[in-house]
Symmetry: C2
Subunit: 298 residues, 2 copies
Amino acid sequence: MTGAGLERLSLNTATVKRATLGEAVDVAARAGYGAVGLWRDRVEEAGVAPTARIVRDAGLRVSSLCRGGFLTASTDDGVRAALDDNRRAIDDAAAVGTTELVMVVGGLPASGEPGGPPREGAAPGDRDVVAARARVADRLADLAPHAADAGVRLALEPLHPMFAADRAVISTLAQALDLAAPHPADVVGVVVDTYHVWWDPALETSVARAGAERRIASYQVCDWNLPLAADPLLSRGYPGDGYVDFPAITRLVADAGYDGDVECEIFHADVWATPAADVARIVAERYATHVAPHLTRG
Amino acid sequence: MTGAGLERLSLNTATVKRATLGEAVDVAARAGYGAVGLWRDRVEEAGVAPTARIVRDAGLRVSSLCRGGFLTASTDDGVRAALDDNRRAIDDAAAVGTTELVMVVGGLPASGEPGGPPREGAAPGDRDVVAARARVADRLADLAPHAADAGVRLALEPLHPMFAADRAVISTLAQALDLAAPHPADVVGVVVDTYHVWWDPALETSVARAGAERRIASYQVCDWNLPLAADPLLSRGYPGDGYVDFPAITRLVADAGYDGDVECEIFHADVWATPAADVARIVAERYATHVAPHLTRG
């Protein structure tokens, strides 16, 4: 099935975490994918300009750059650092050739932390989640002009509510759309990641709204497996292994008018231990079985 | 501080899991609590009539019986078994002297399972969460007349979305209120448990709605600790140890007009290993510090 019907499929480099950028691009291209989704660690290793060339030479698109965000800092230094880092991420997204910068907006600032990604074992500090969300809105307003100038969309990713304390105070699509609302649809959008949103009782309404507002920046497919891994961040599965209803959610996304790339991003120790070419093949098979048949607008 | 200002505080027997019913009631009464929340395992051990007598003789109320639910079975046998069990739970609630039966409505039926509490390691079966929610609505309609006759309210507990696959397809207060809407407020209500709802971006709106509809059946306080325990069900903490903003949420509940008991239900291996009298004292101190000062309507 190599190549057949995979033109919208994108391999996220985090799914083949141990591969270099070149290796990840190579296995995706050989398996017939249309695109790759890039994490910044791989881009930084290879360099921005070489990354763009490697992907282009393989005949692939960049579906998104992951990630900007961590916008909840409450100190002046933390805010300045977050804005600097996100402006660099916006520039990098444009330079590697994608319009979509995935934003993981950050959790509650831990005790004594200036913001930024969570530190293992950090104590609870600020508990005001309502104020943290307001700071995210303020930082989006700060960043939107730079994003618009660069032709890059800030793609807000609601994370599963189990990450609300330490990773993302955006927990639902409706909330992401409310935060995007003050901005043009090509400047602030939303990510629909099945792992994070499958449980949402408002999913049908929110996906339709996201489509009507033309804000769906990325559709990401990954399954919800049980039991949760000791680190729940590493608890994702190949589509078909867990509890997510891929046909139903894919039809919602298609009916909302989304016709962009479908990225597969899996964090899982077993997947990372598998040779990258095998992972690319398995993902392609699962996509062809559980997702692709439902991508046609009903 | 024994007894001072603790008249609305209720000790859930699950918090002192290794205590017998008599021991749990005794430590709650000695610490000055006004009530106890009962799990059915302790009631079954002691017997229904003796349970009512033990609590009454200690001068306490029963704030709730936990739990009915597991209503998502899709087979005739599974539905019949669920209805039988829930009618017994309704009768037991009335007999032990509470009007509130906490309902954990059940997750997706596992492969080959007739429904009921999750079995460790069960494979994914039915993935249609929308249909599972519709079956919950049907079962509530089946049970409502029996509950009304018994003077017992079915108190729908939204569980944190990380339990949506295996324990409760009700994940938000708004969704619980929508399911309650066809029924009188004294027949179907909702539980506000901080552990399960603290992350919800619609929390303020939903708590206010629950109050306006007079459906708040129980306010339960328990903290969200990180990192999650290997079994996330056992990841709760004493109020003040984690990320929950107790003053803010308690004020929402008070402003919504709730004037009932405040139950503390903690599942945590360290808490269970602590002598019950010490647990009761610690919970009372945390309640007095983080919760009670904010229970006055603002």
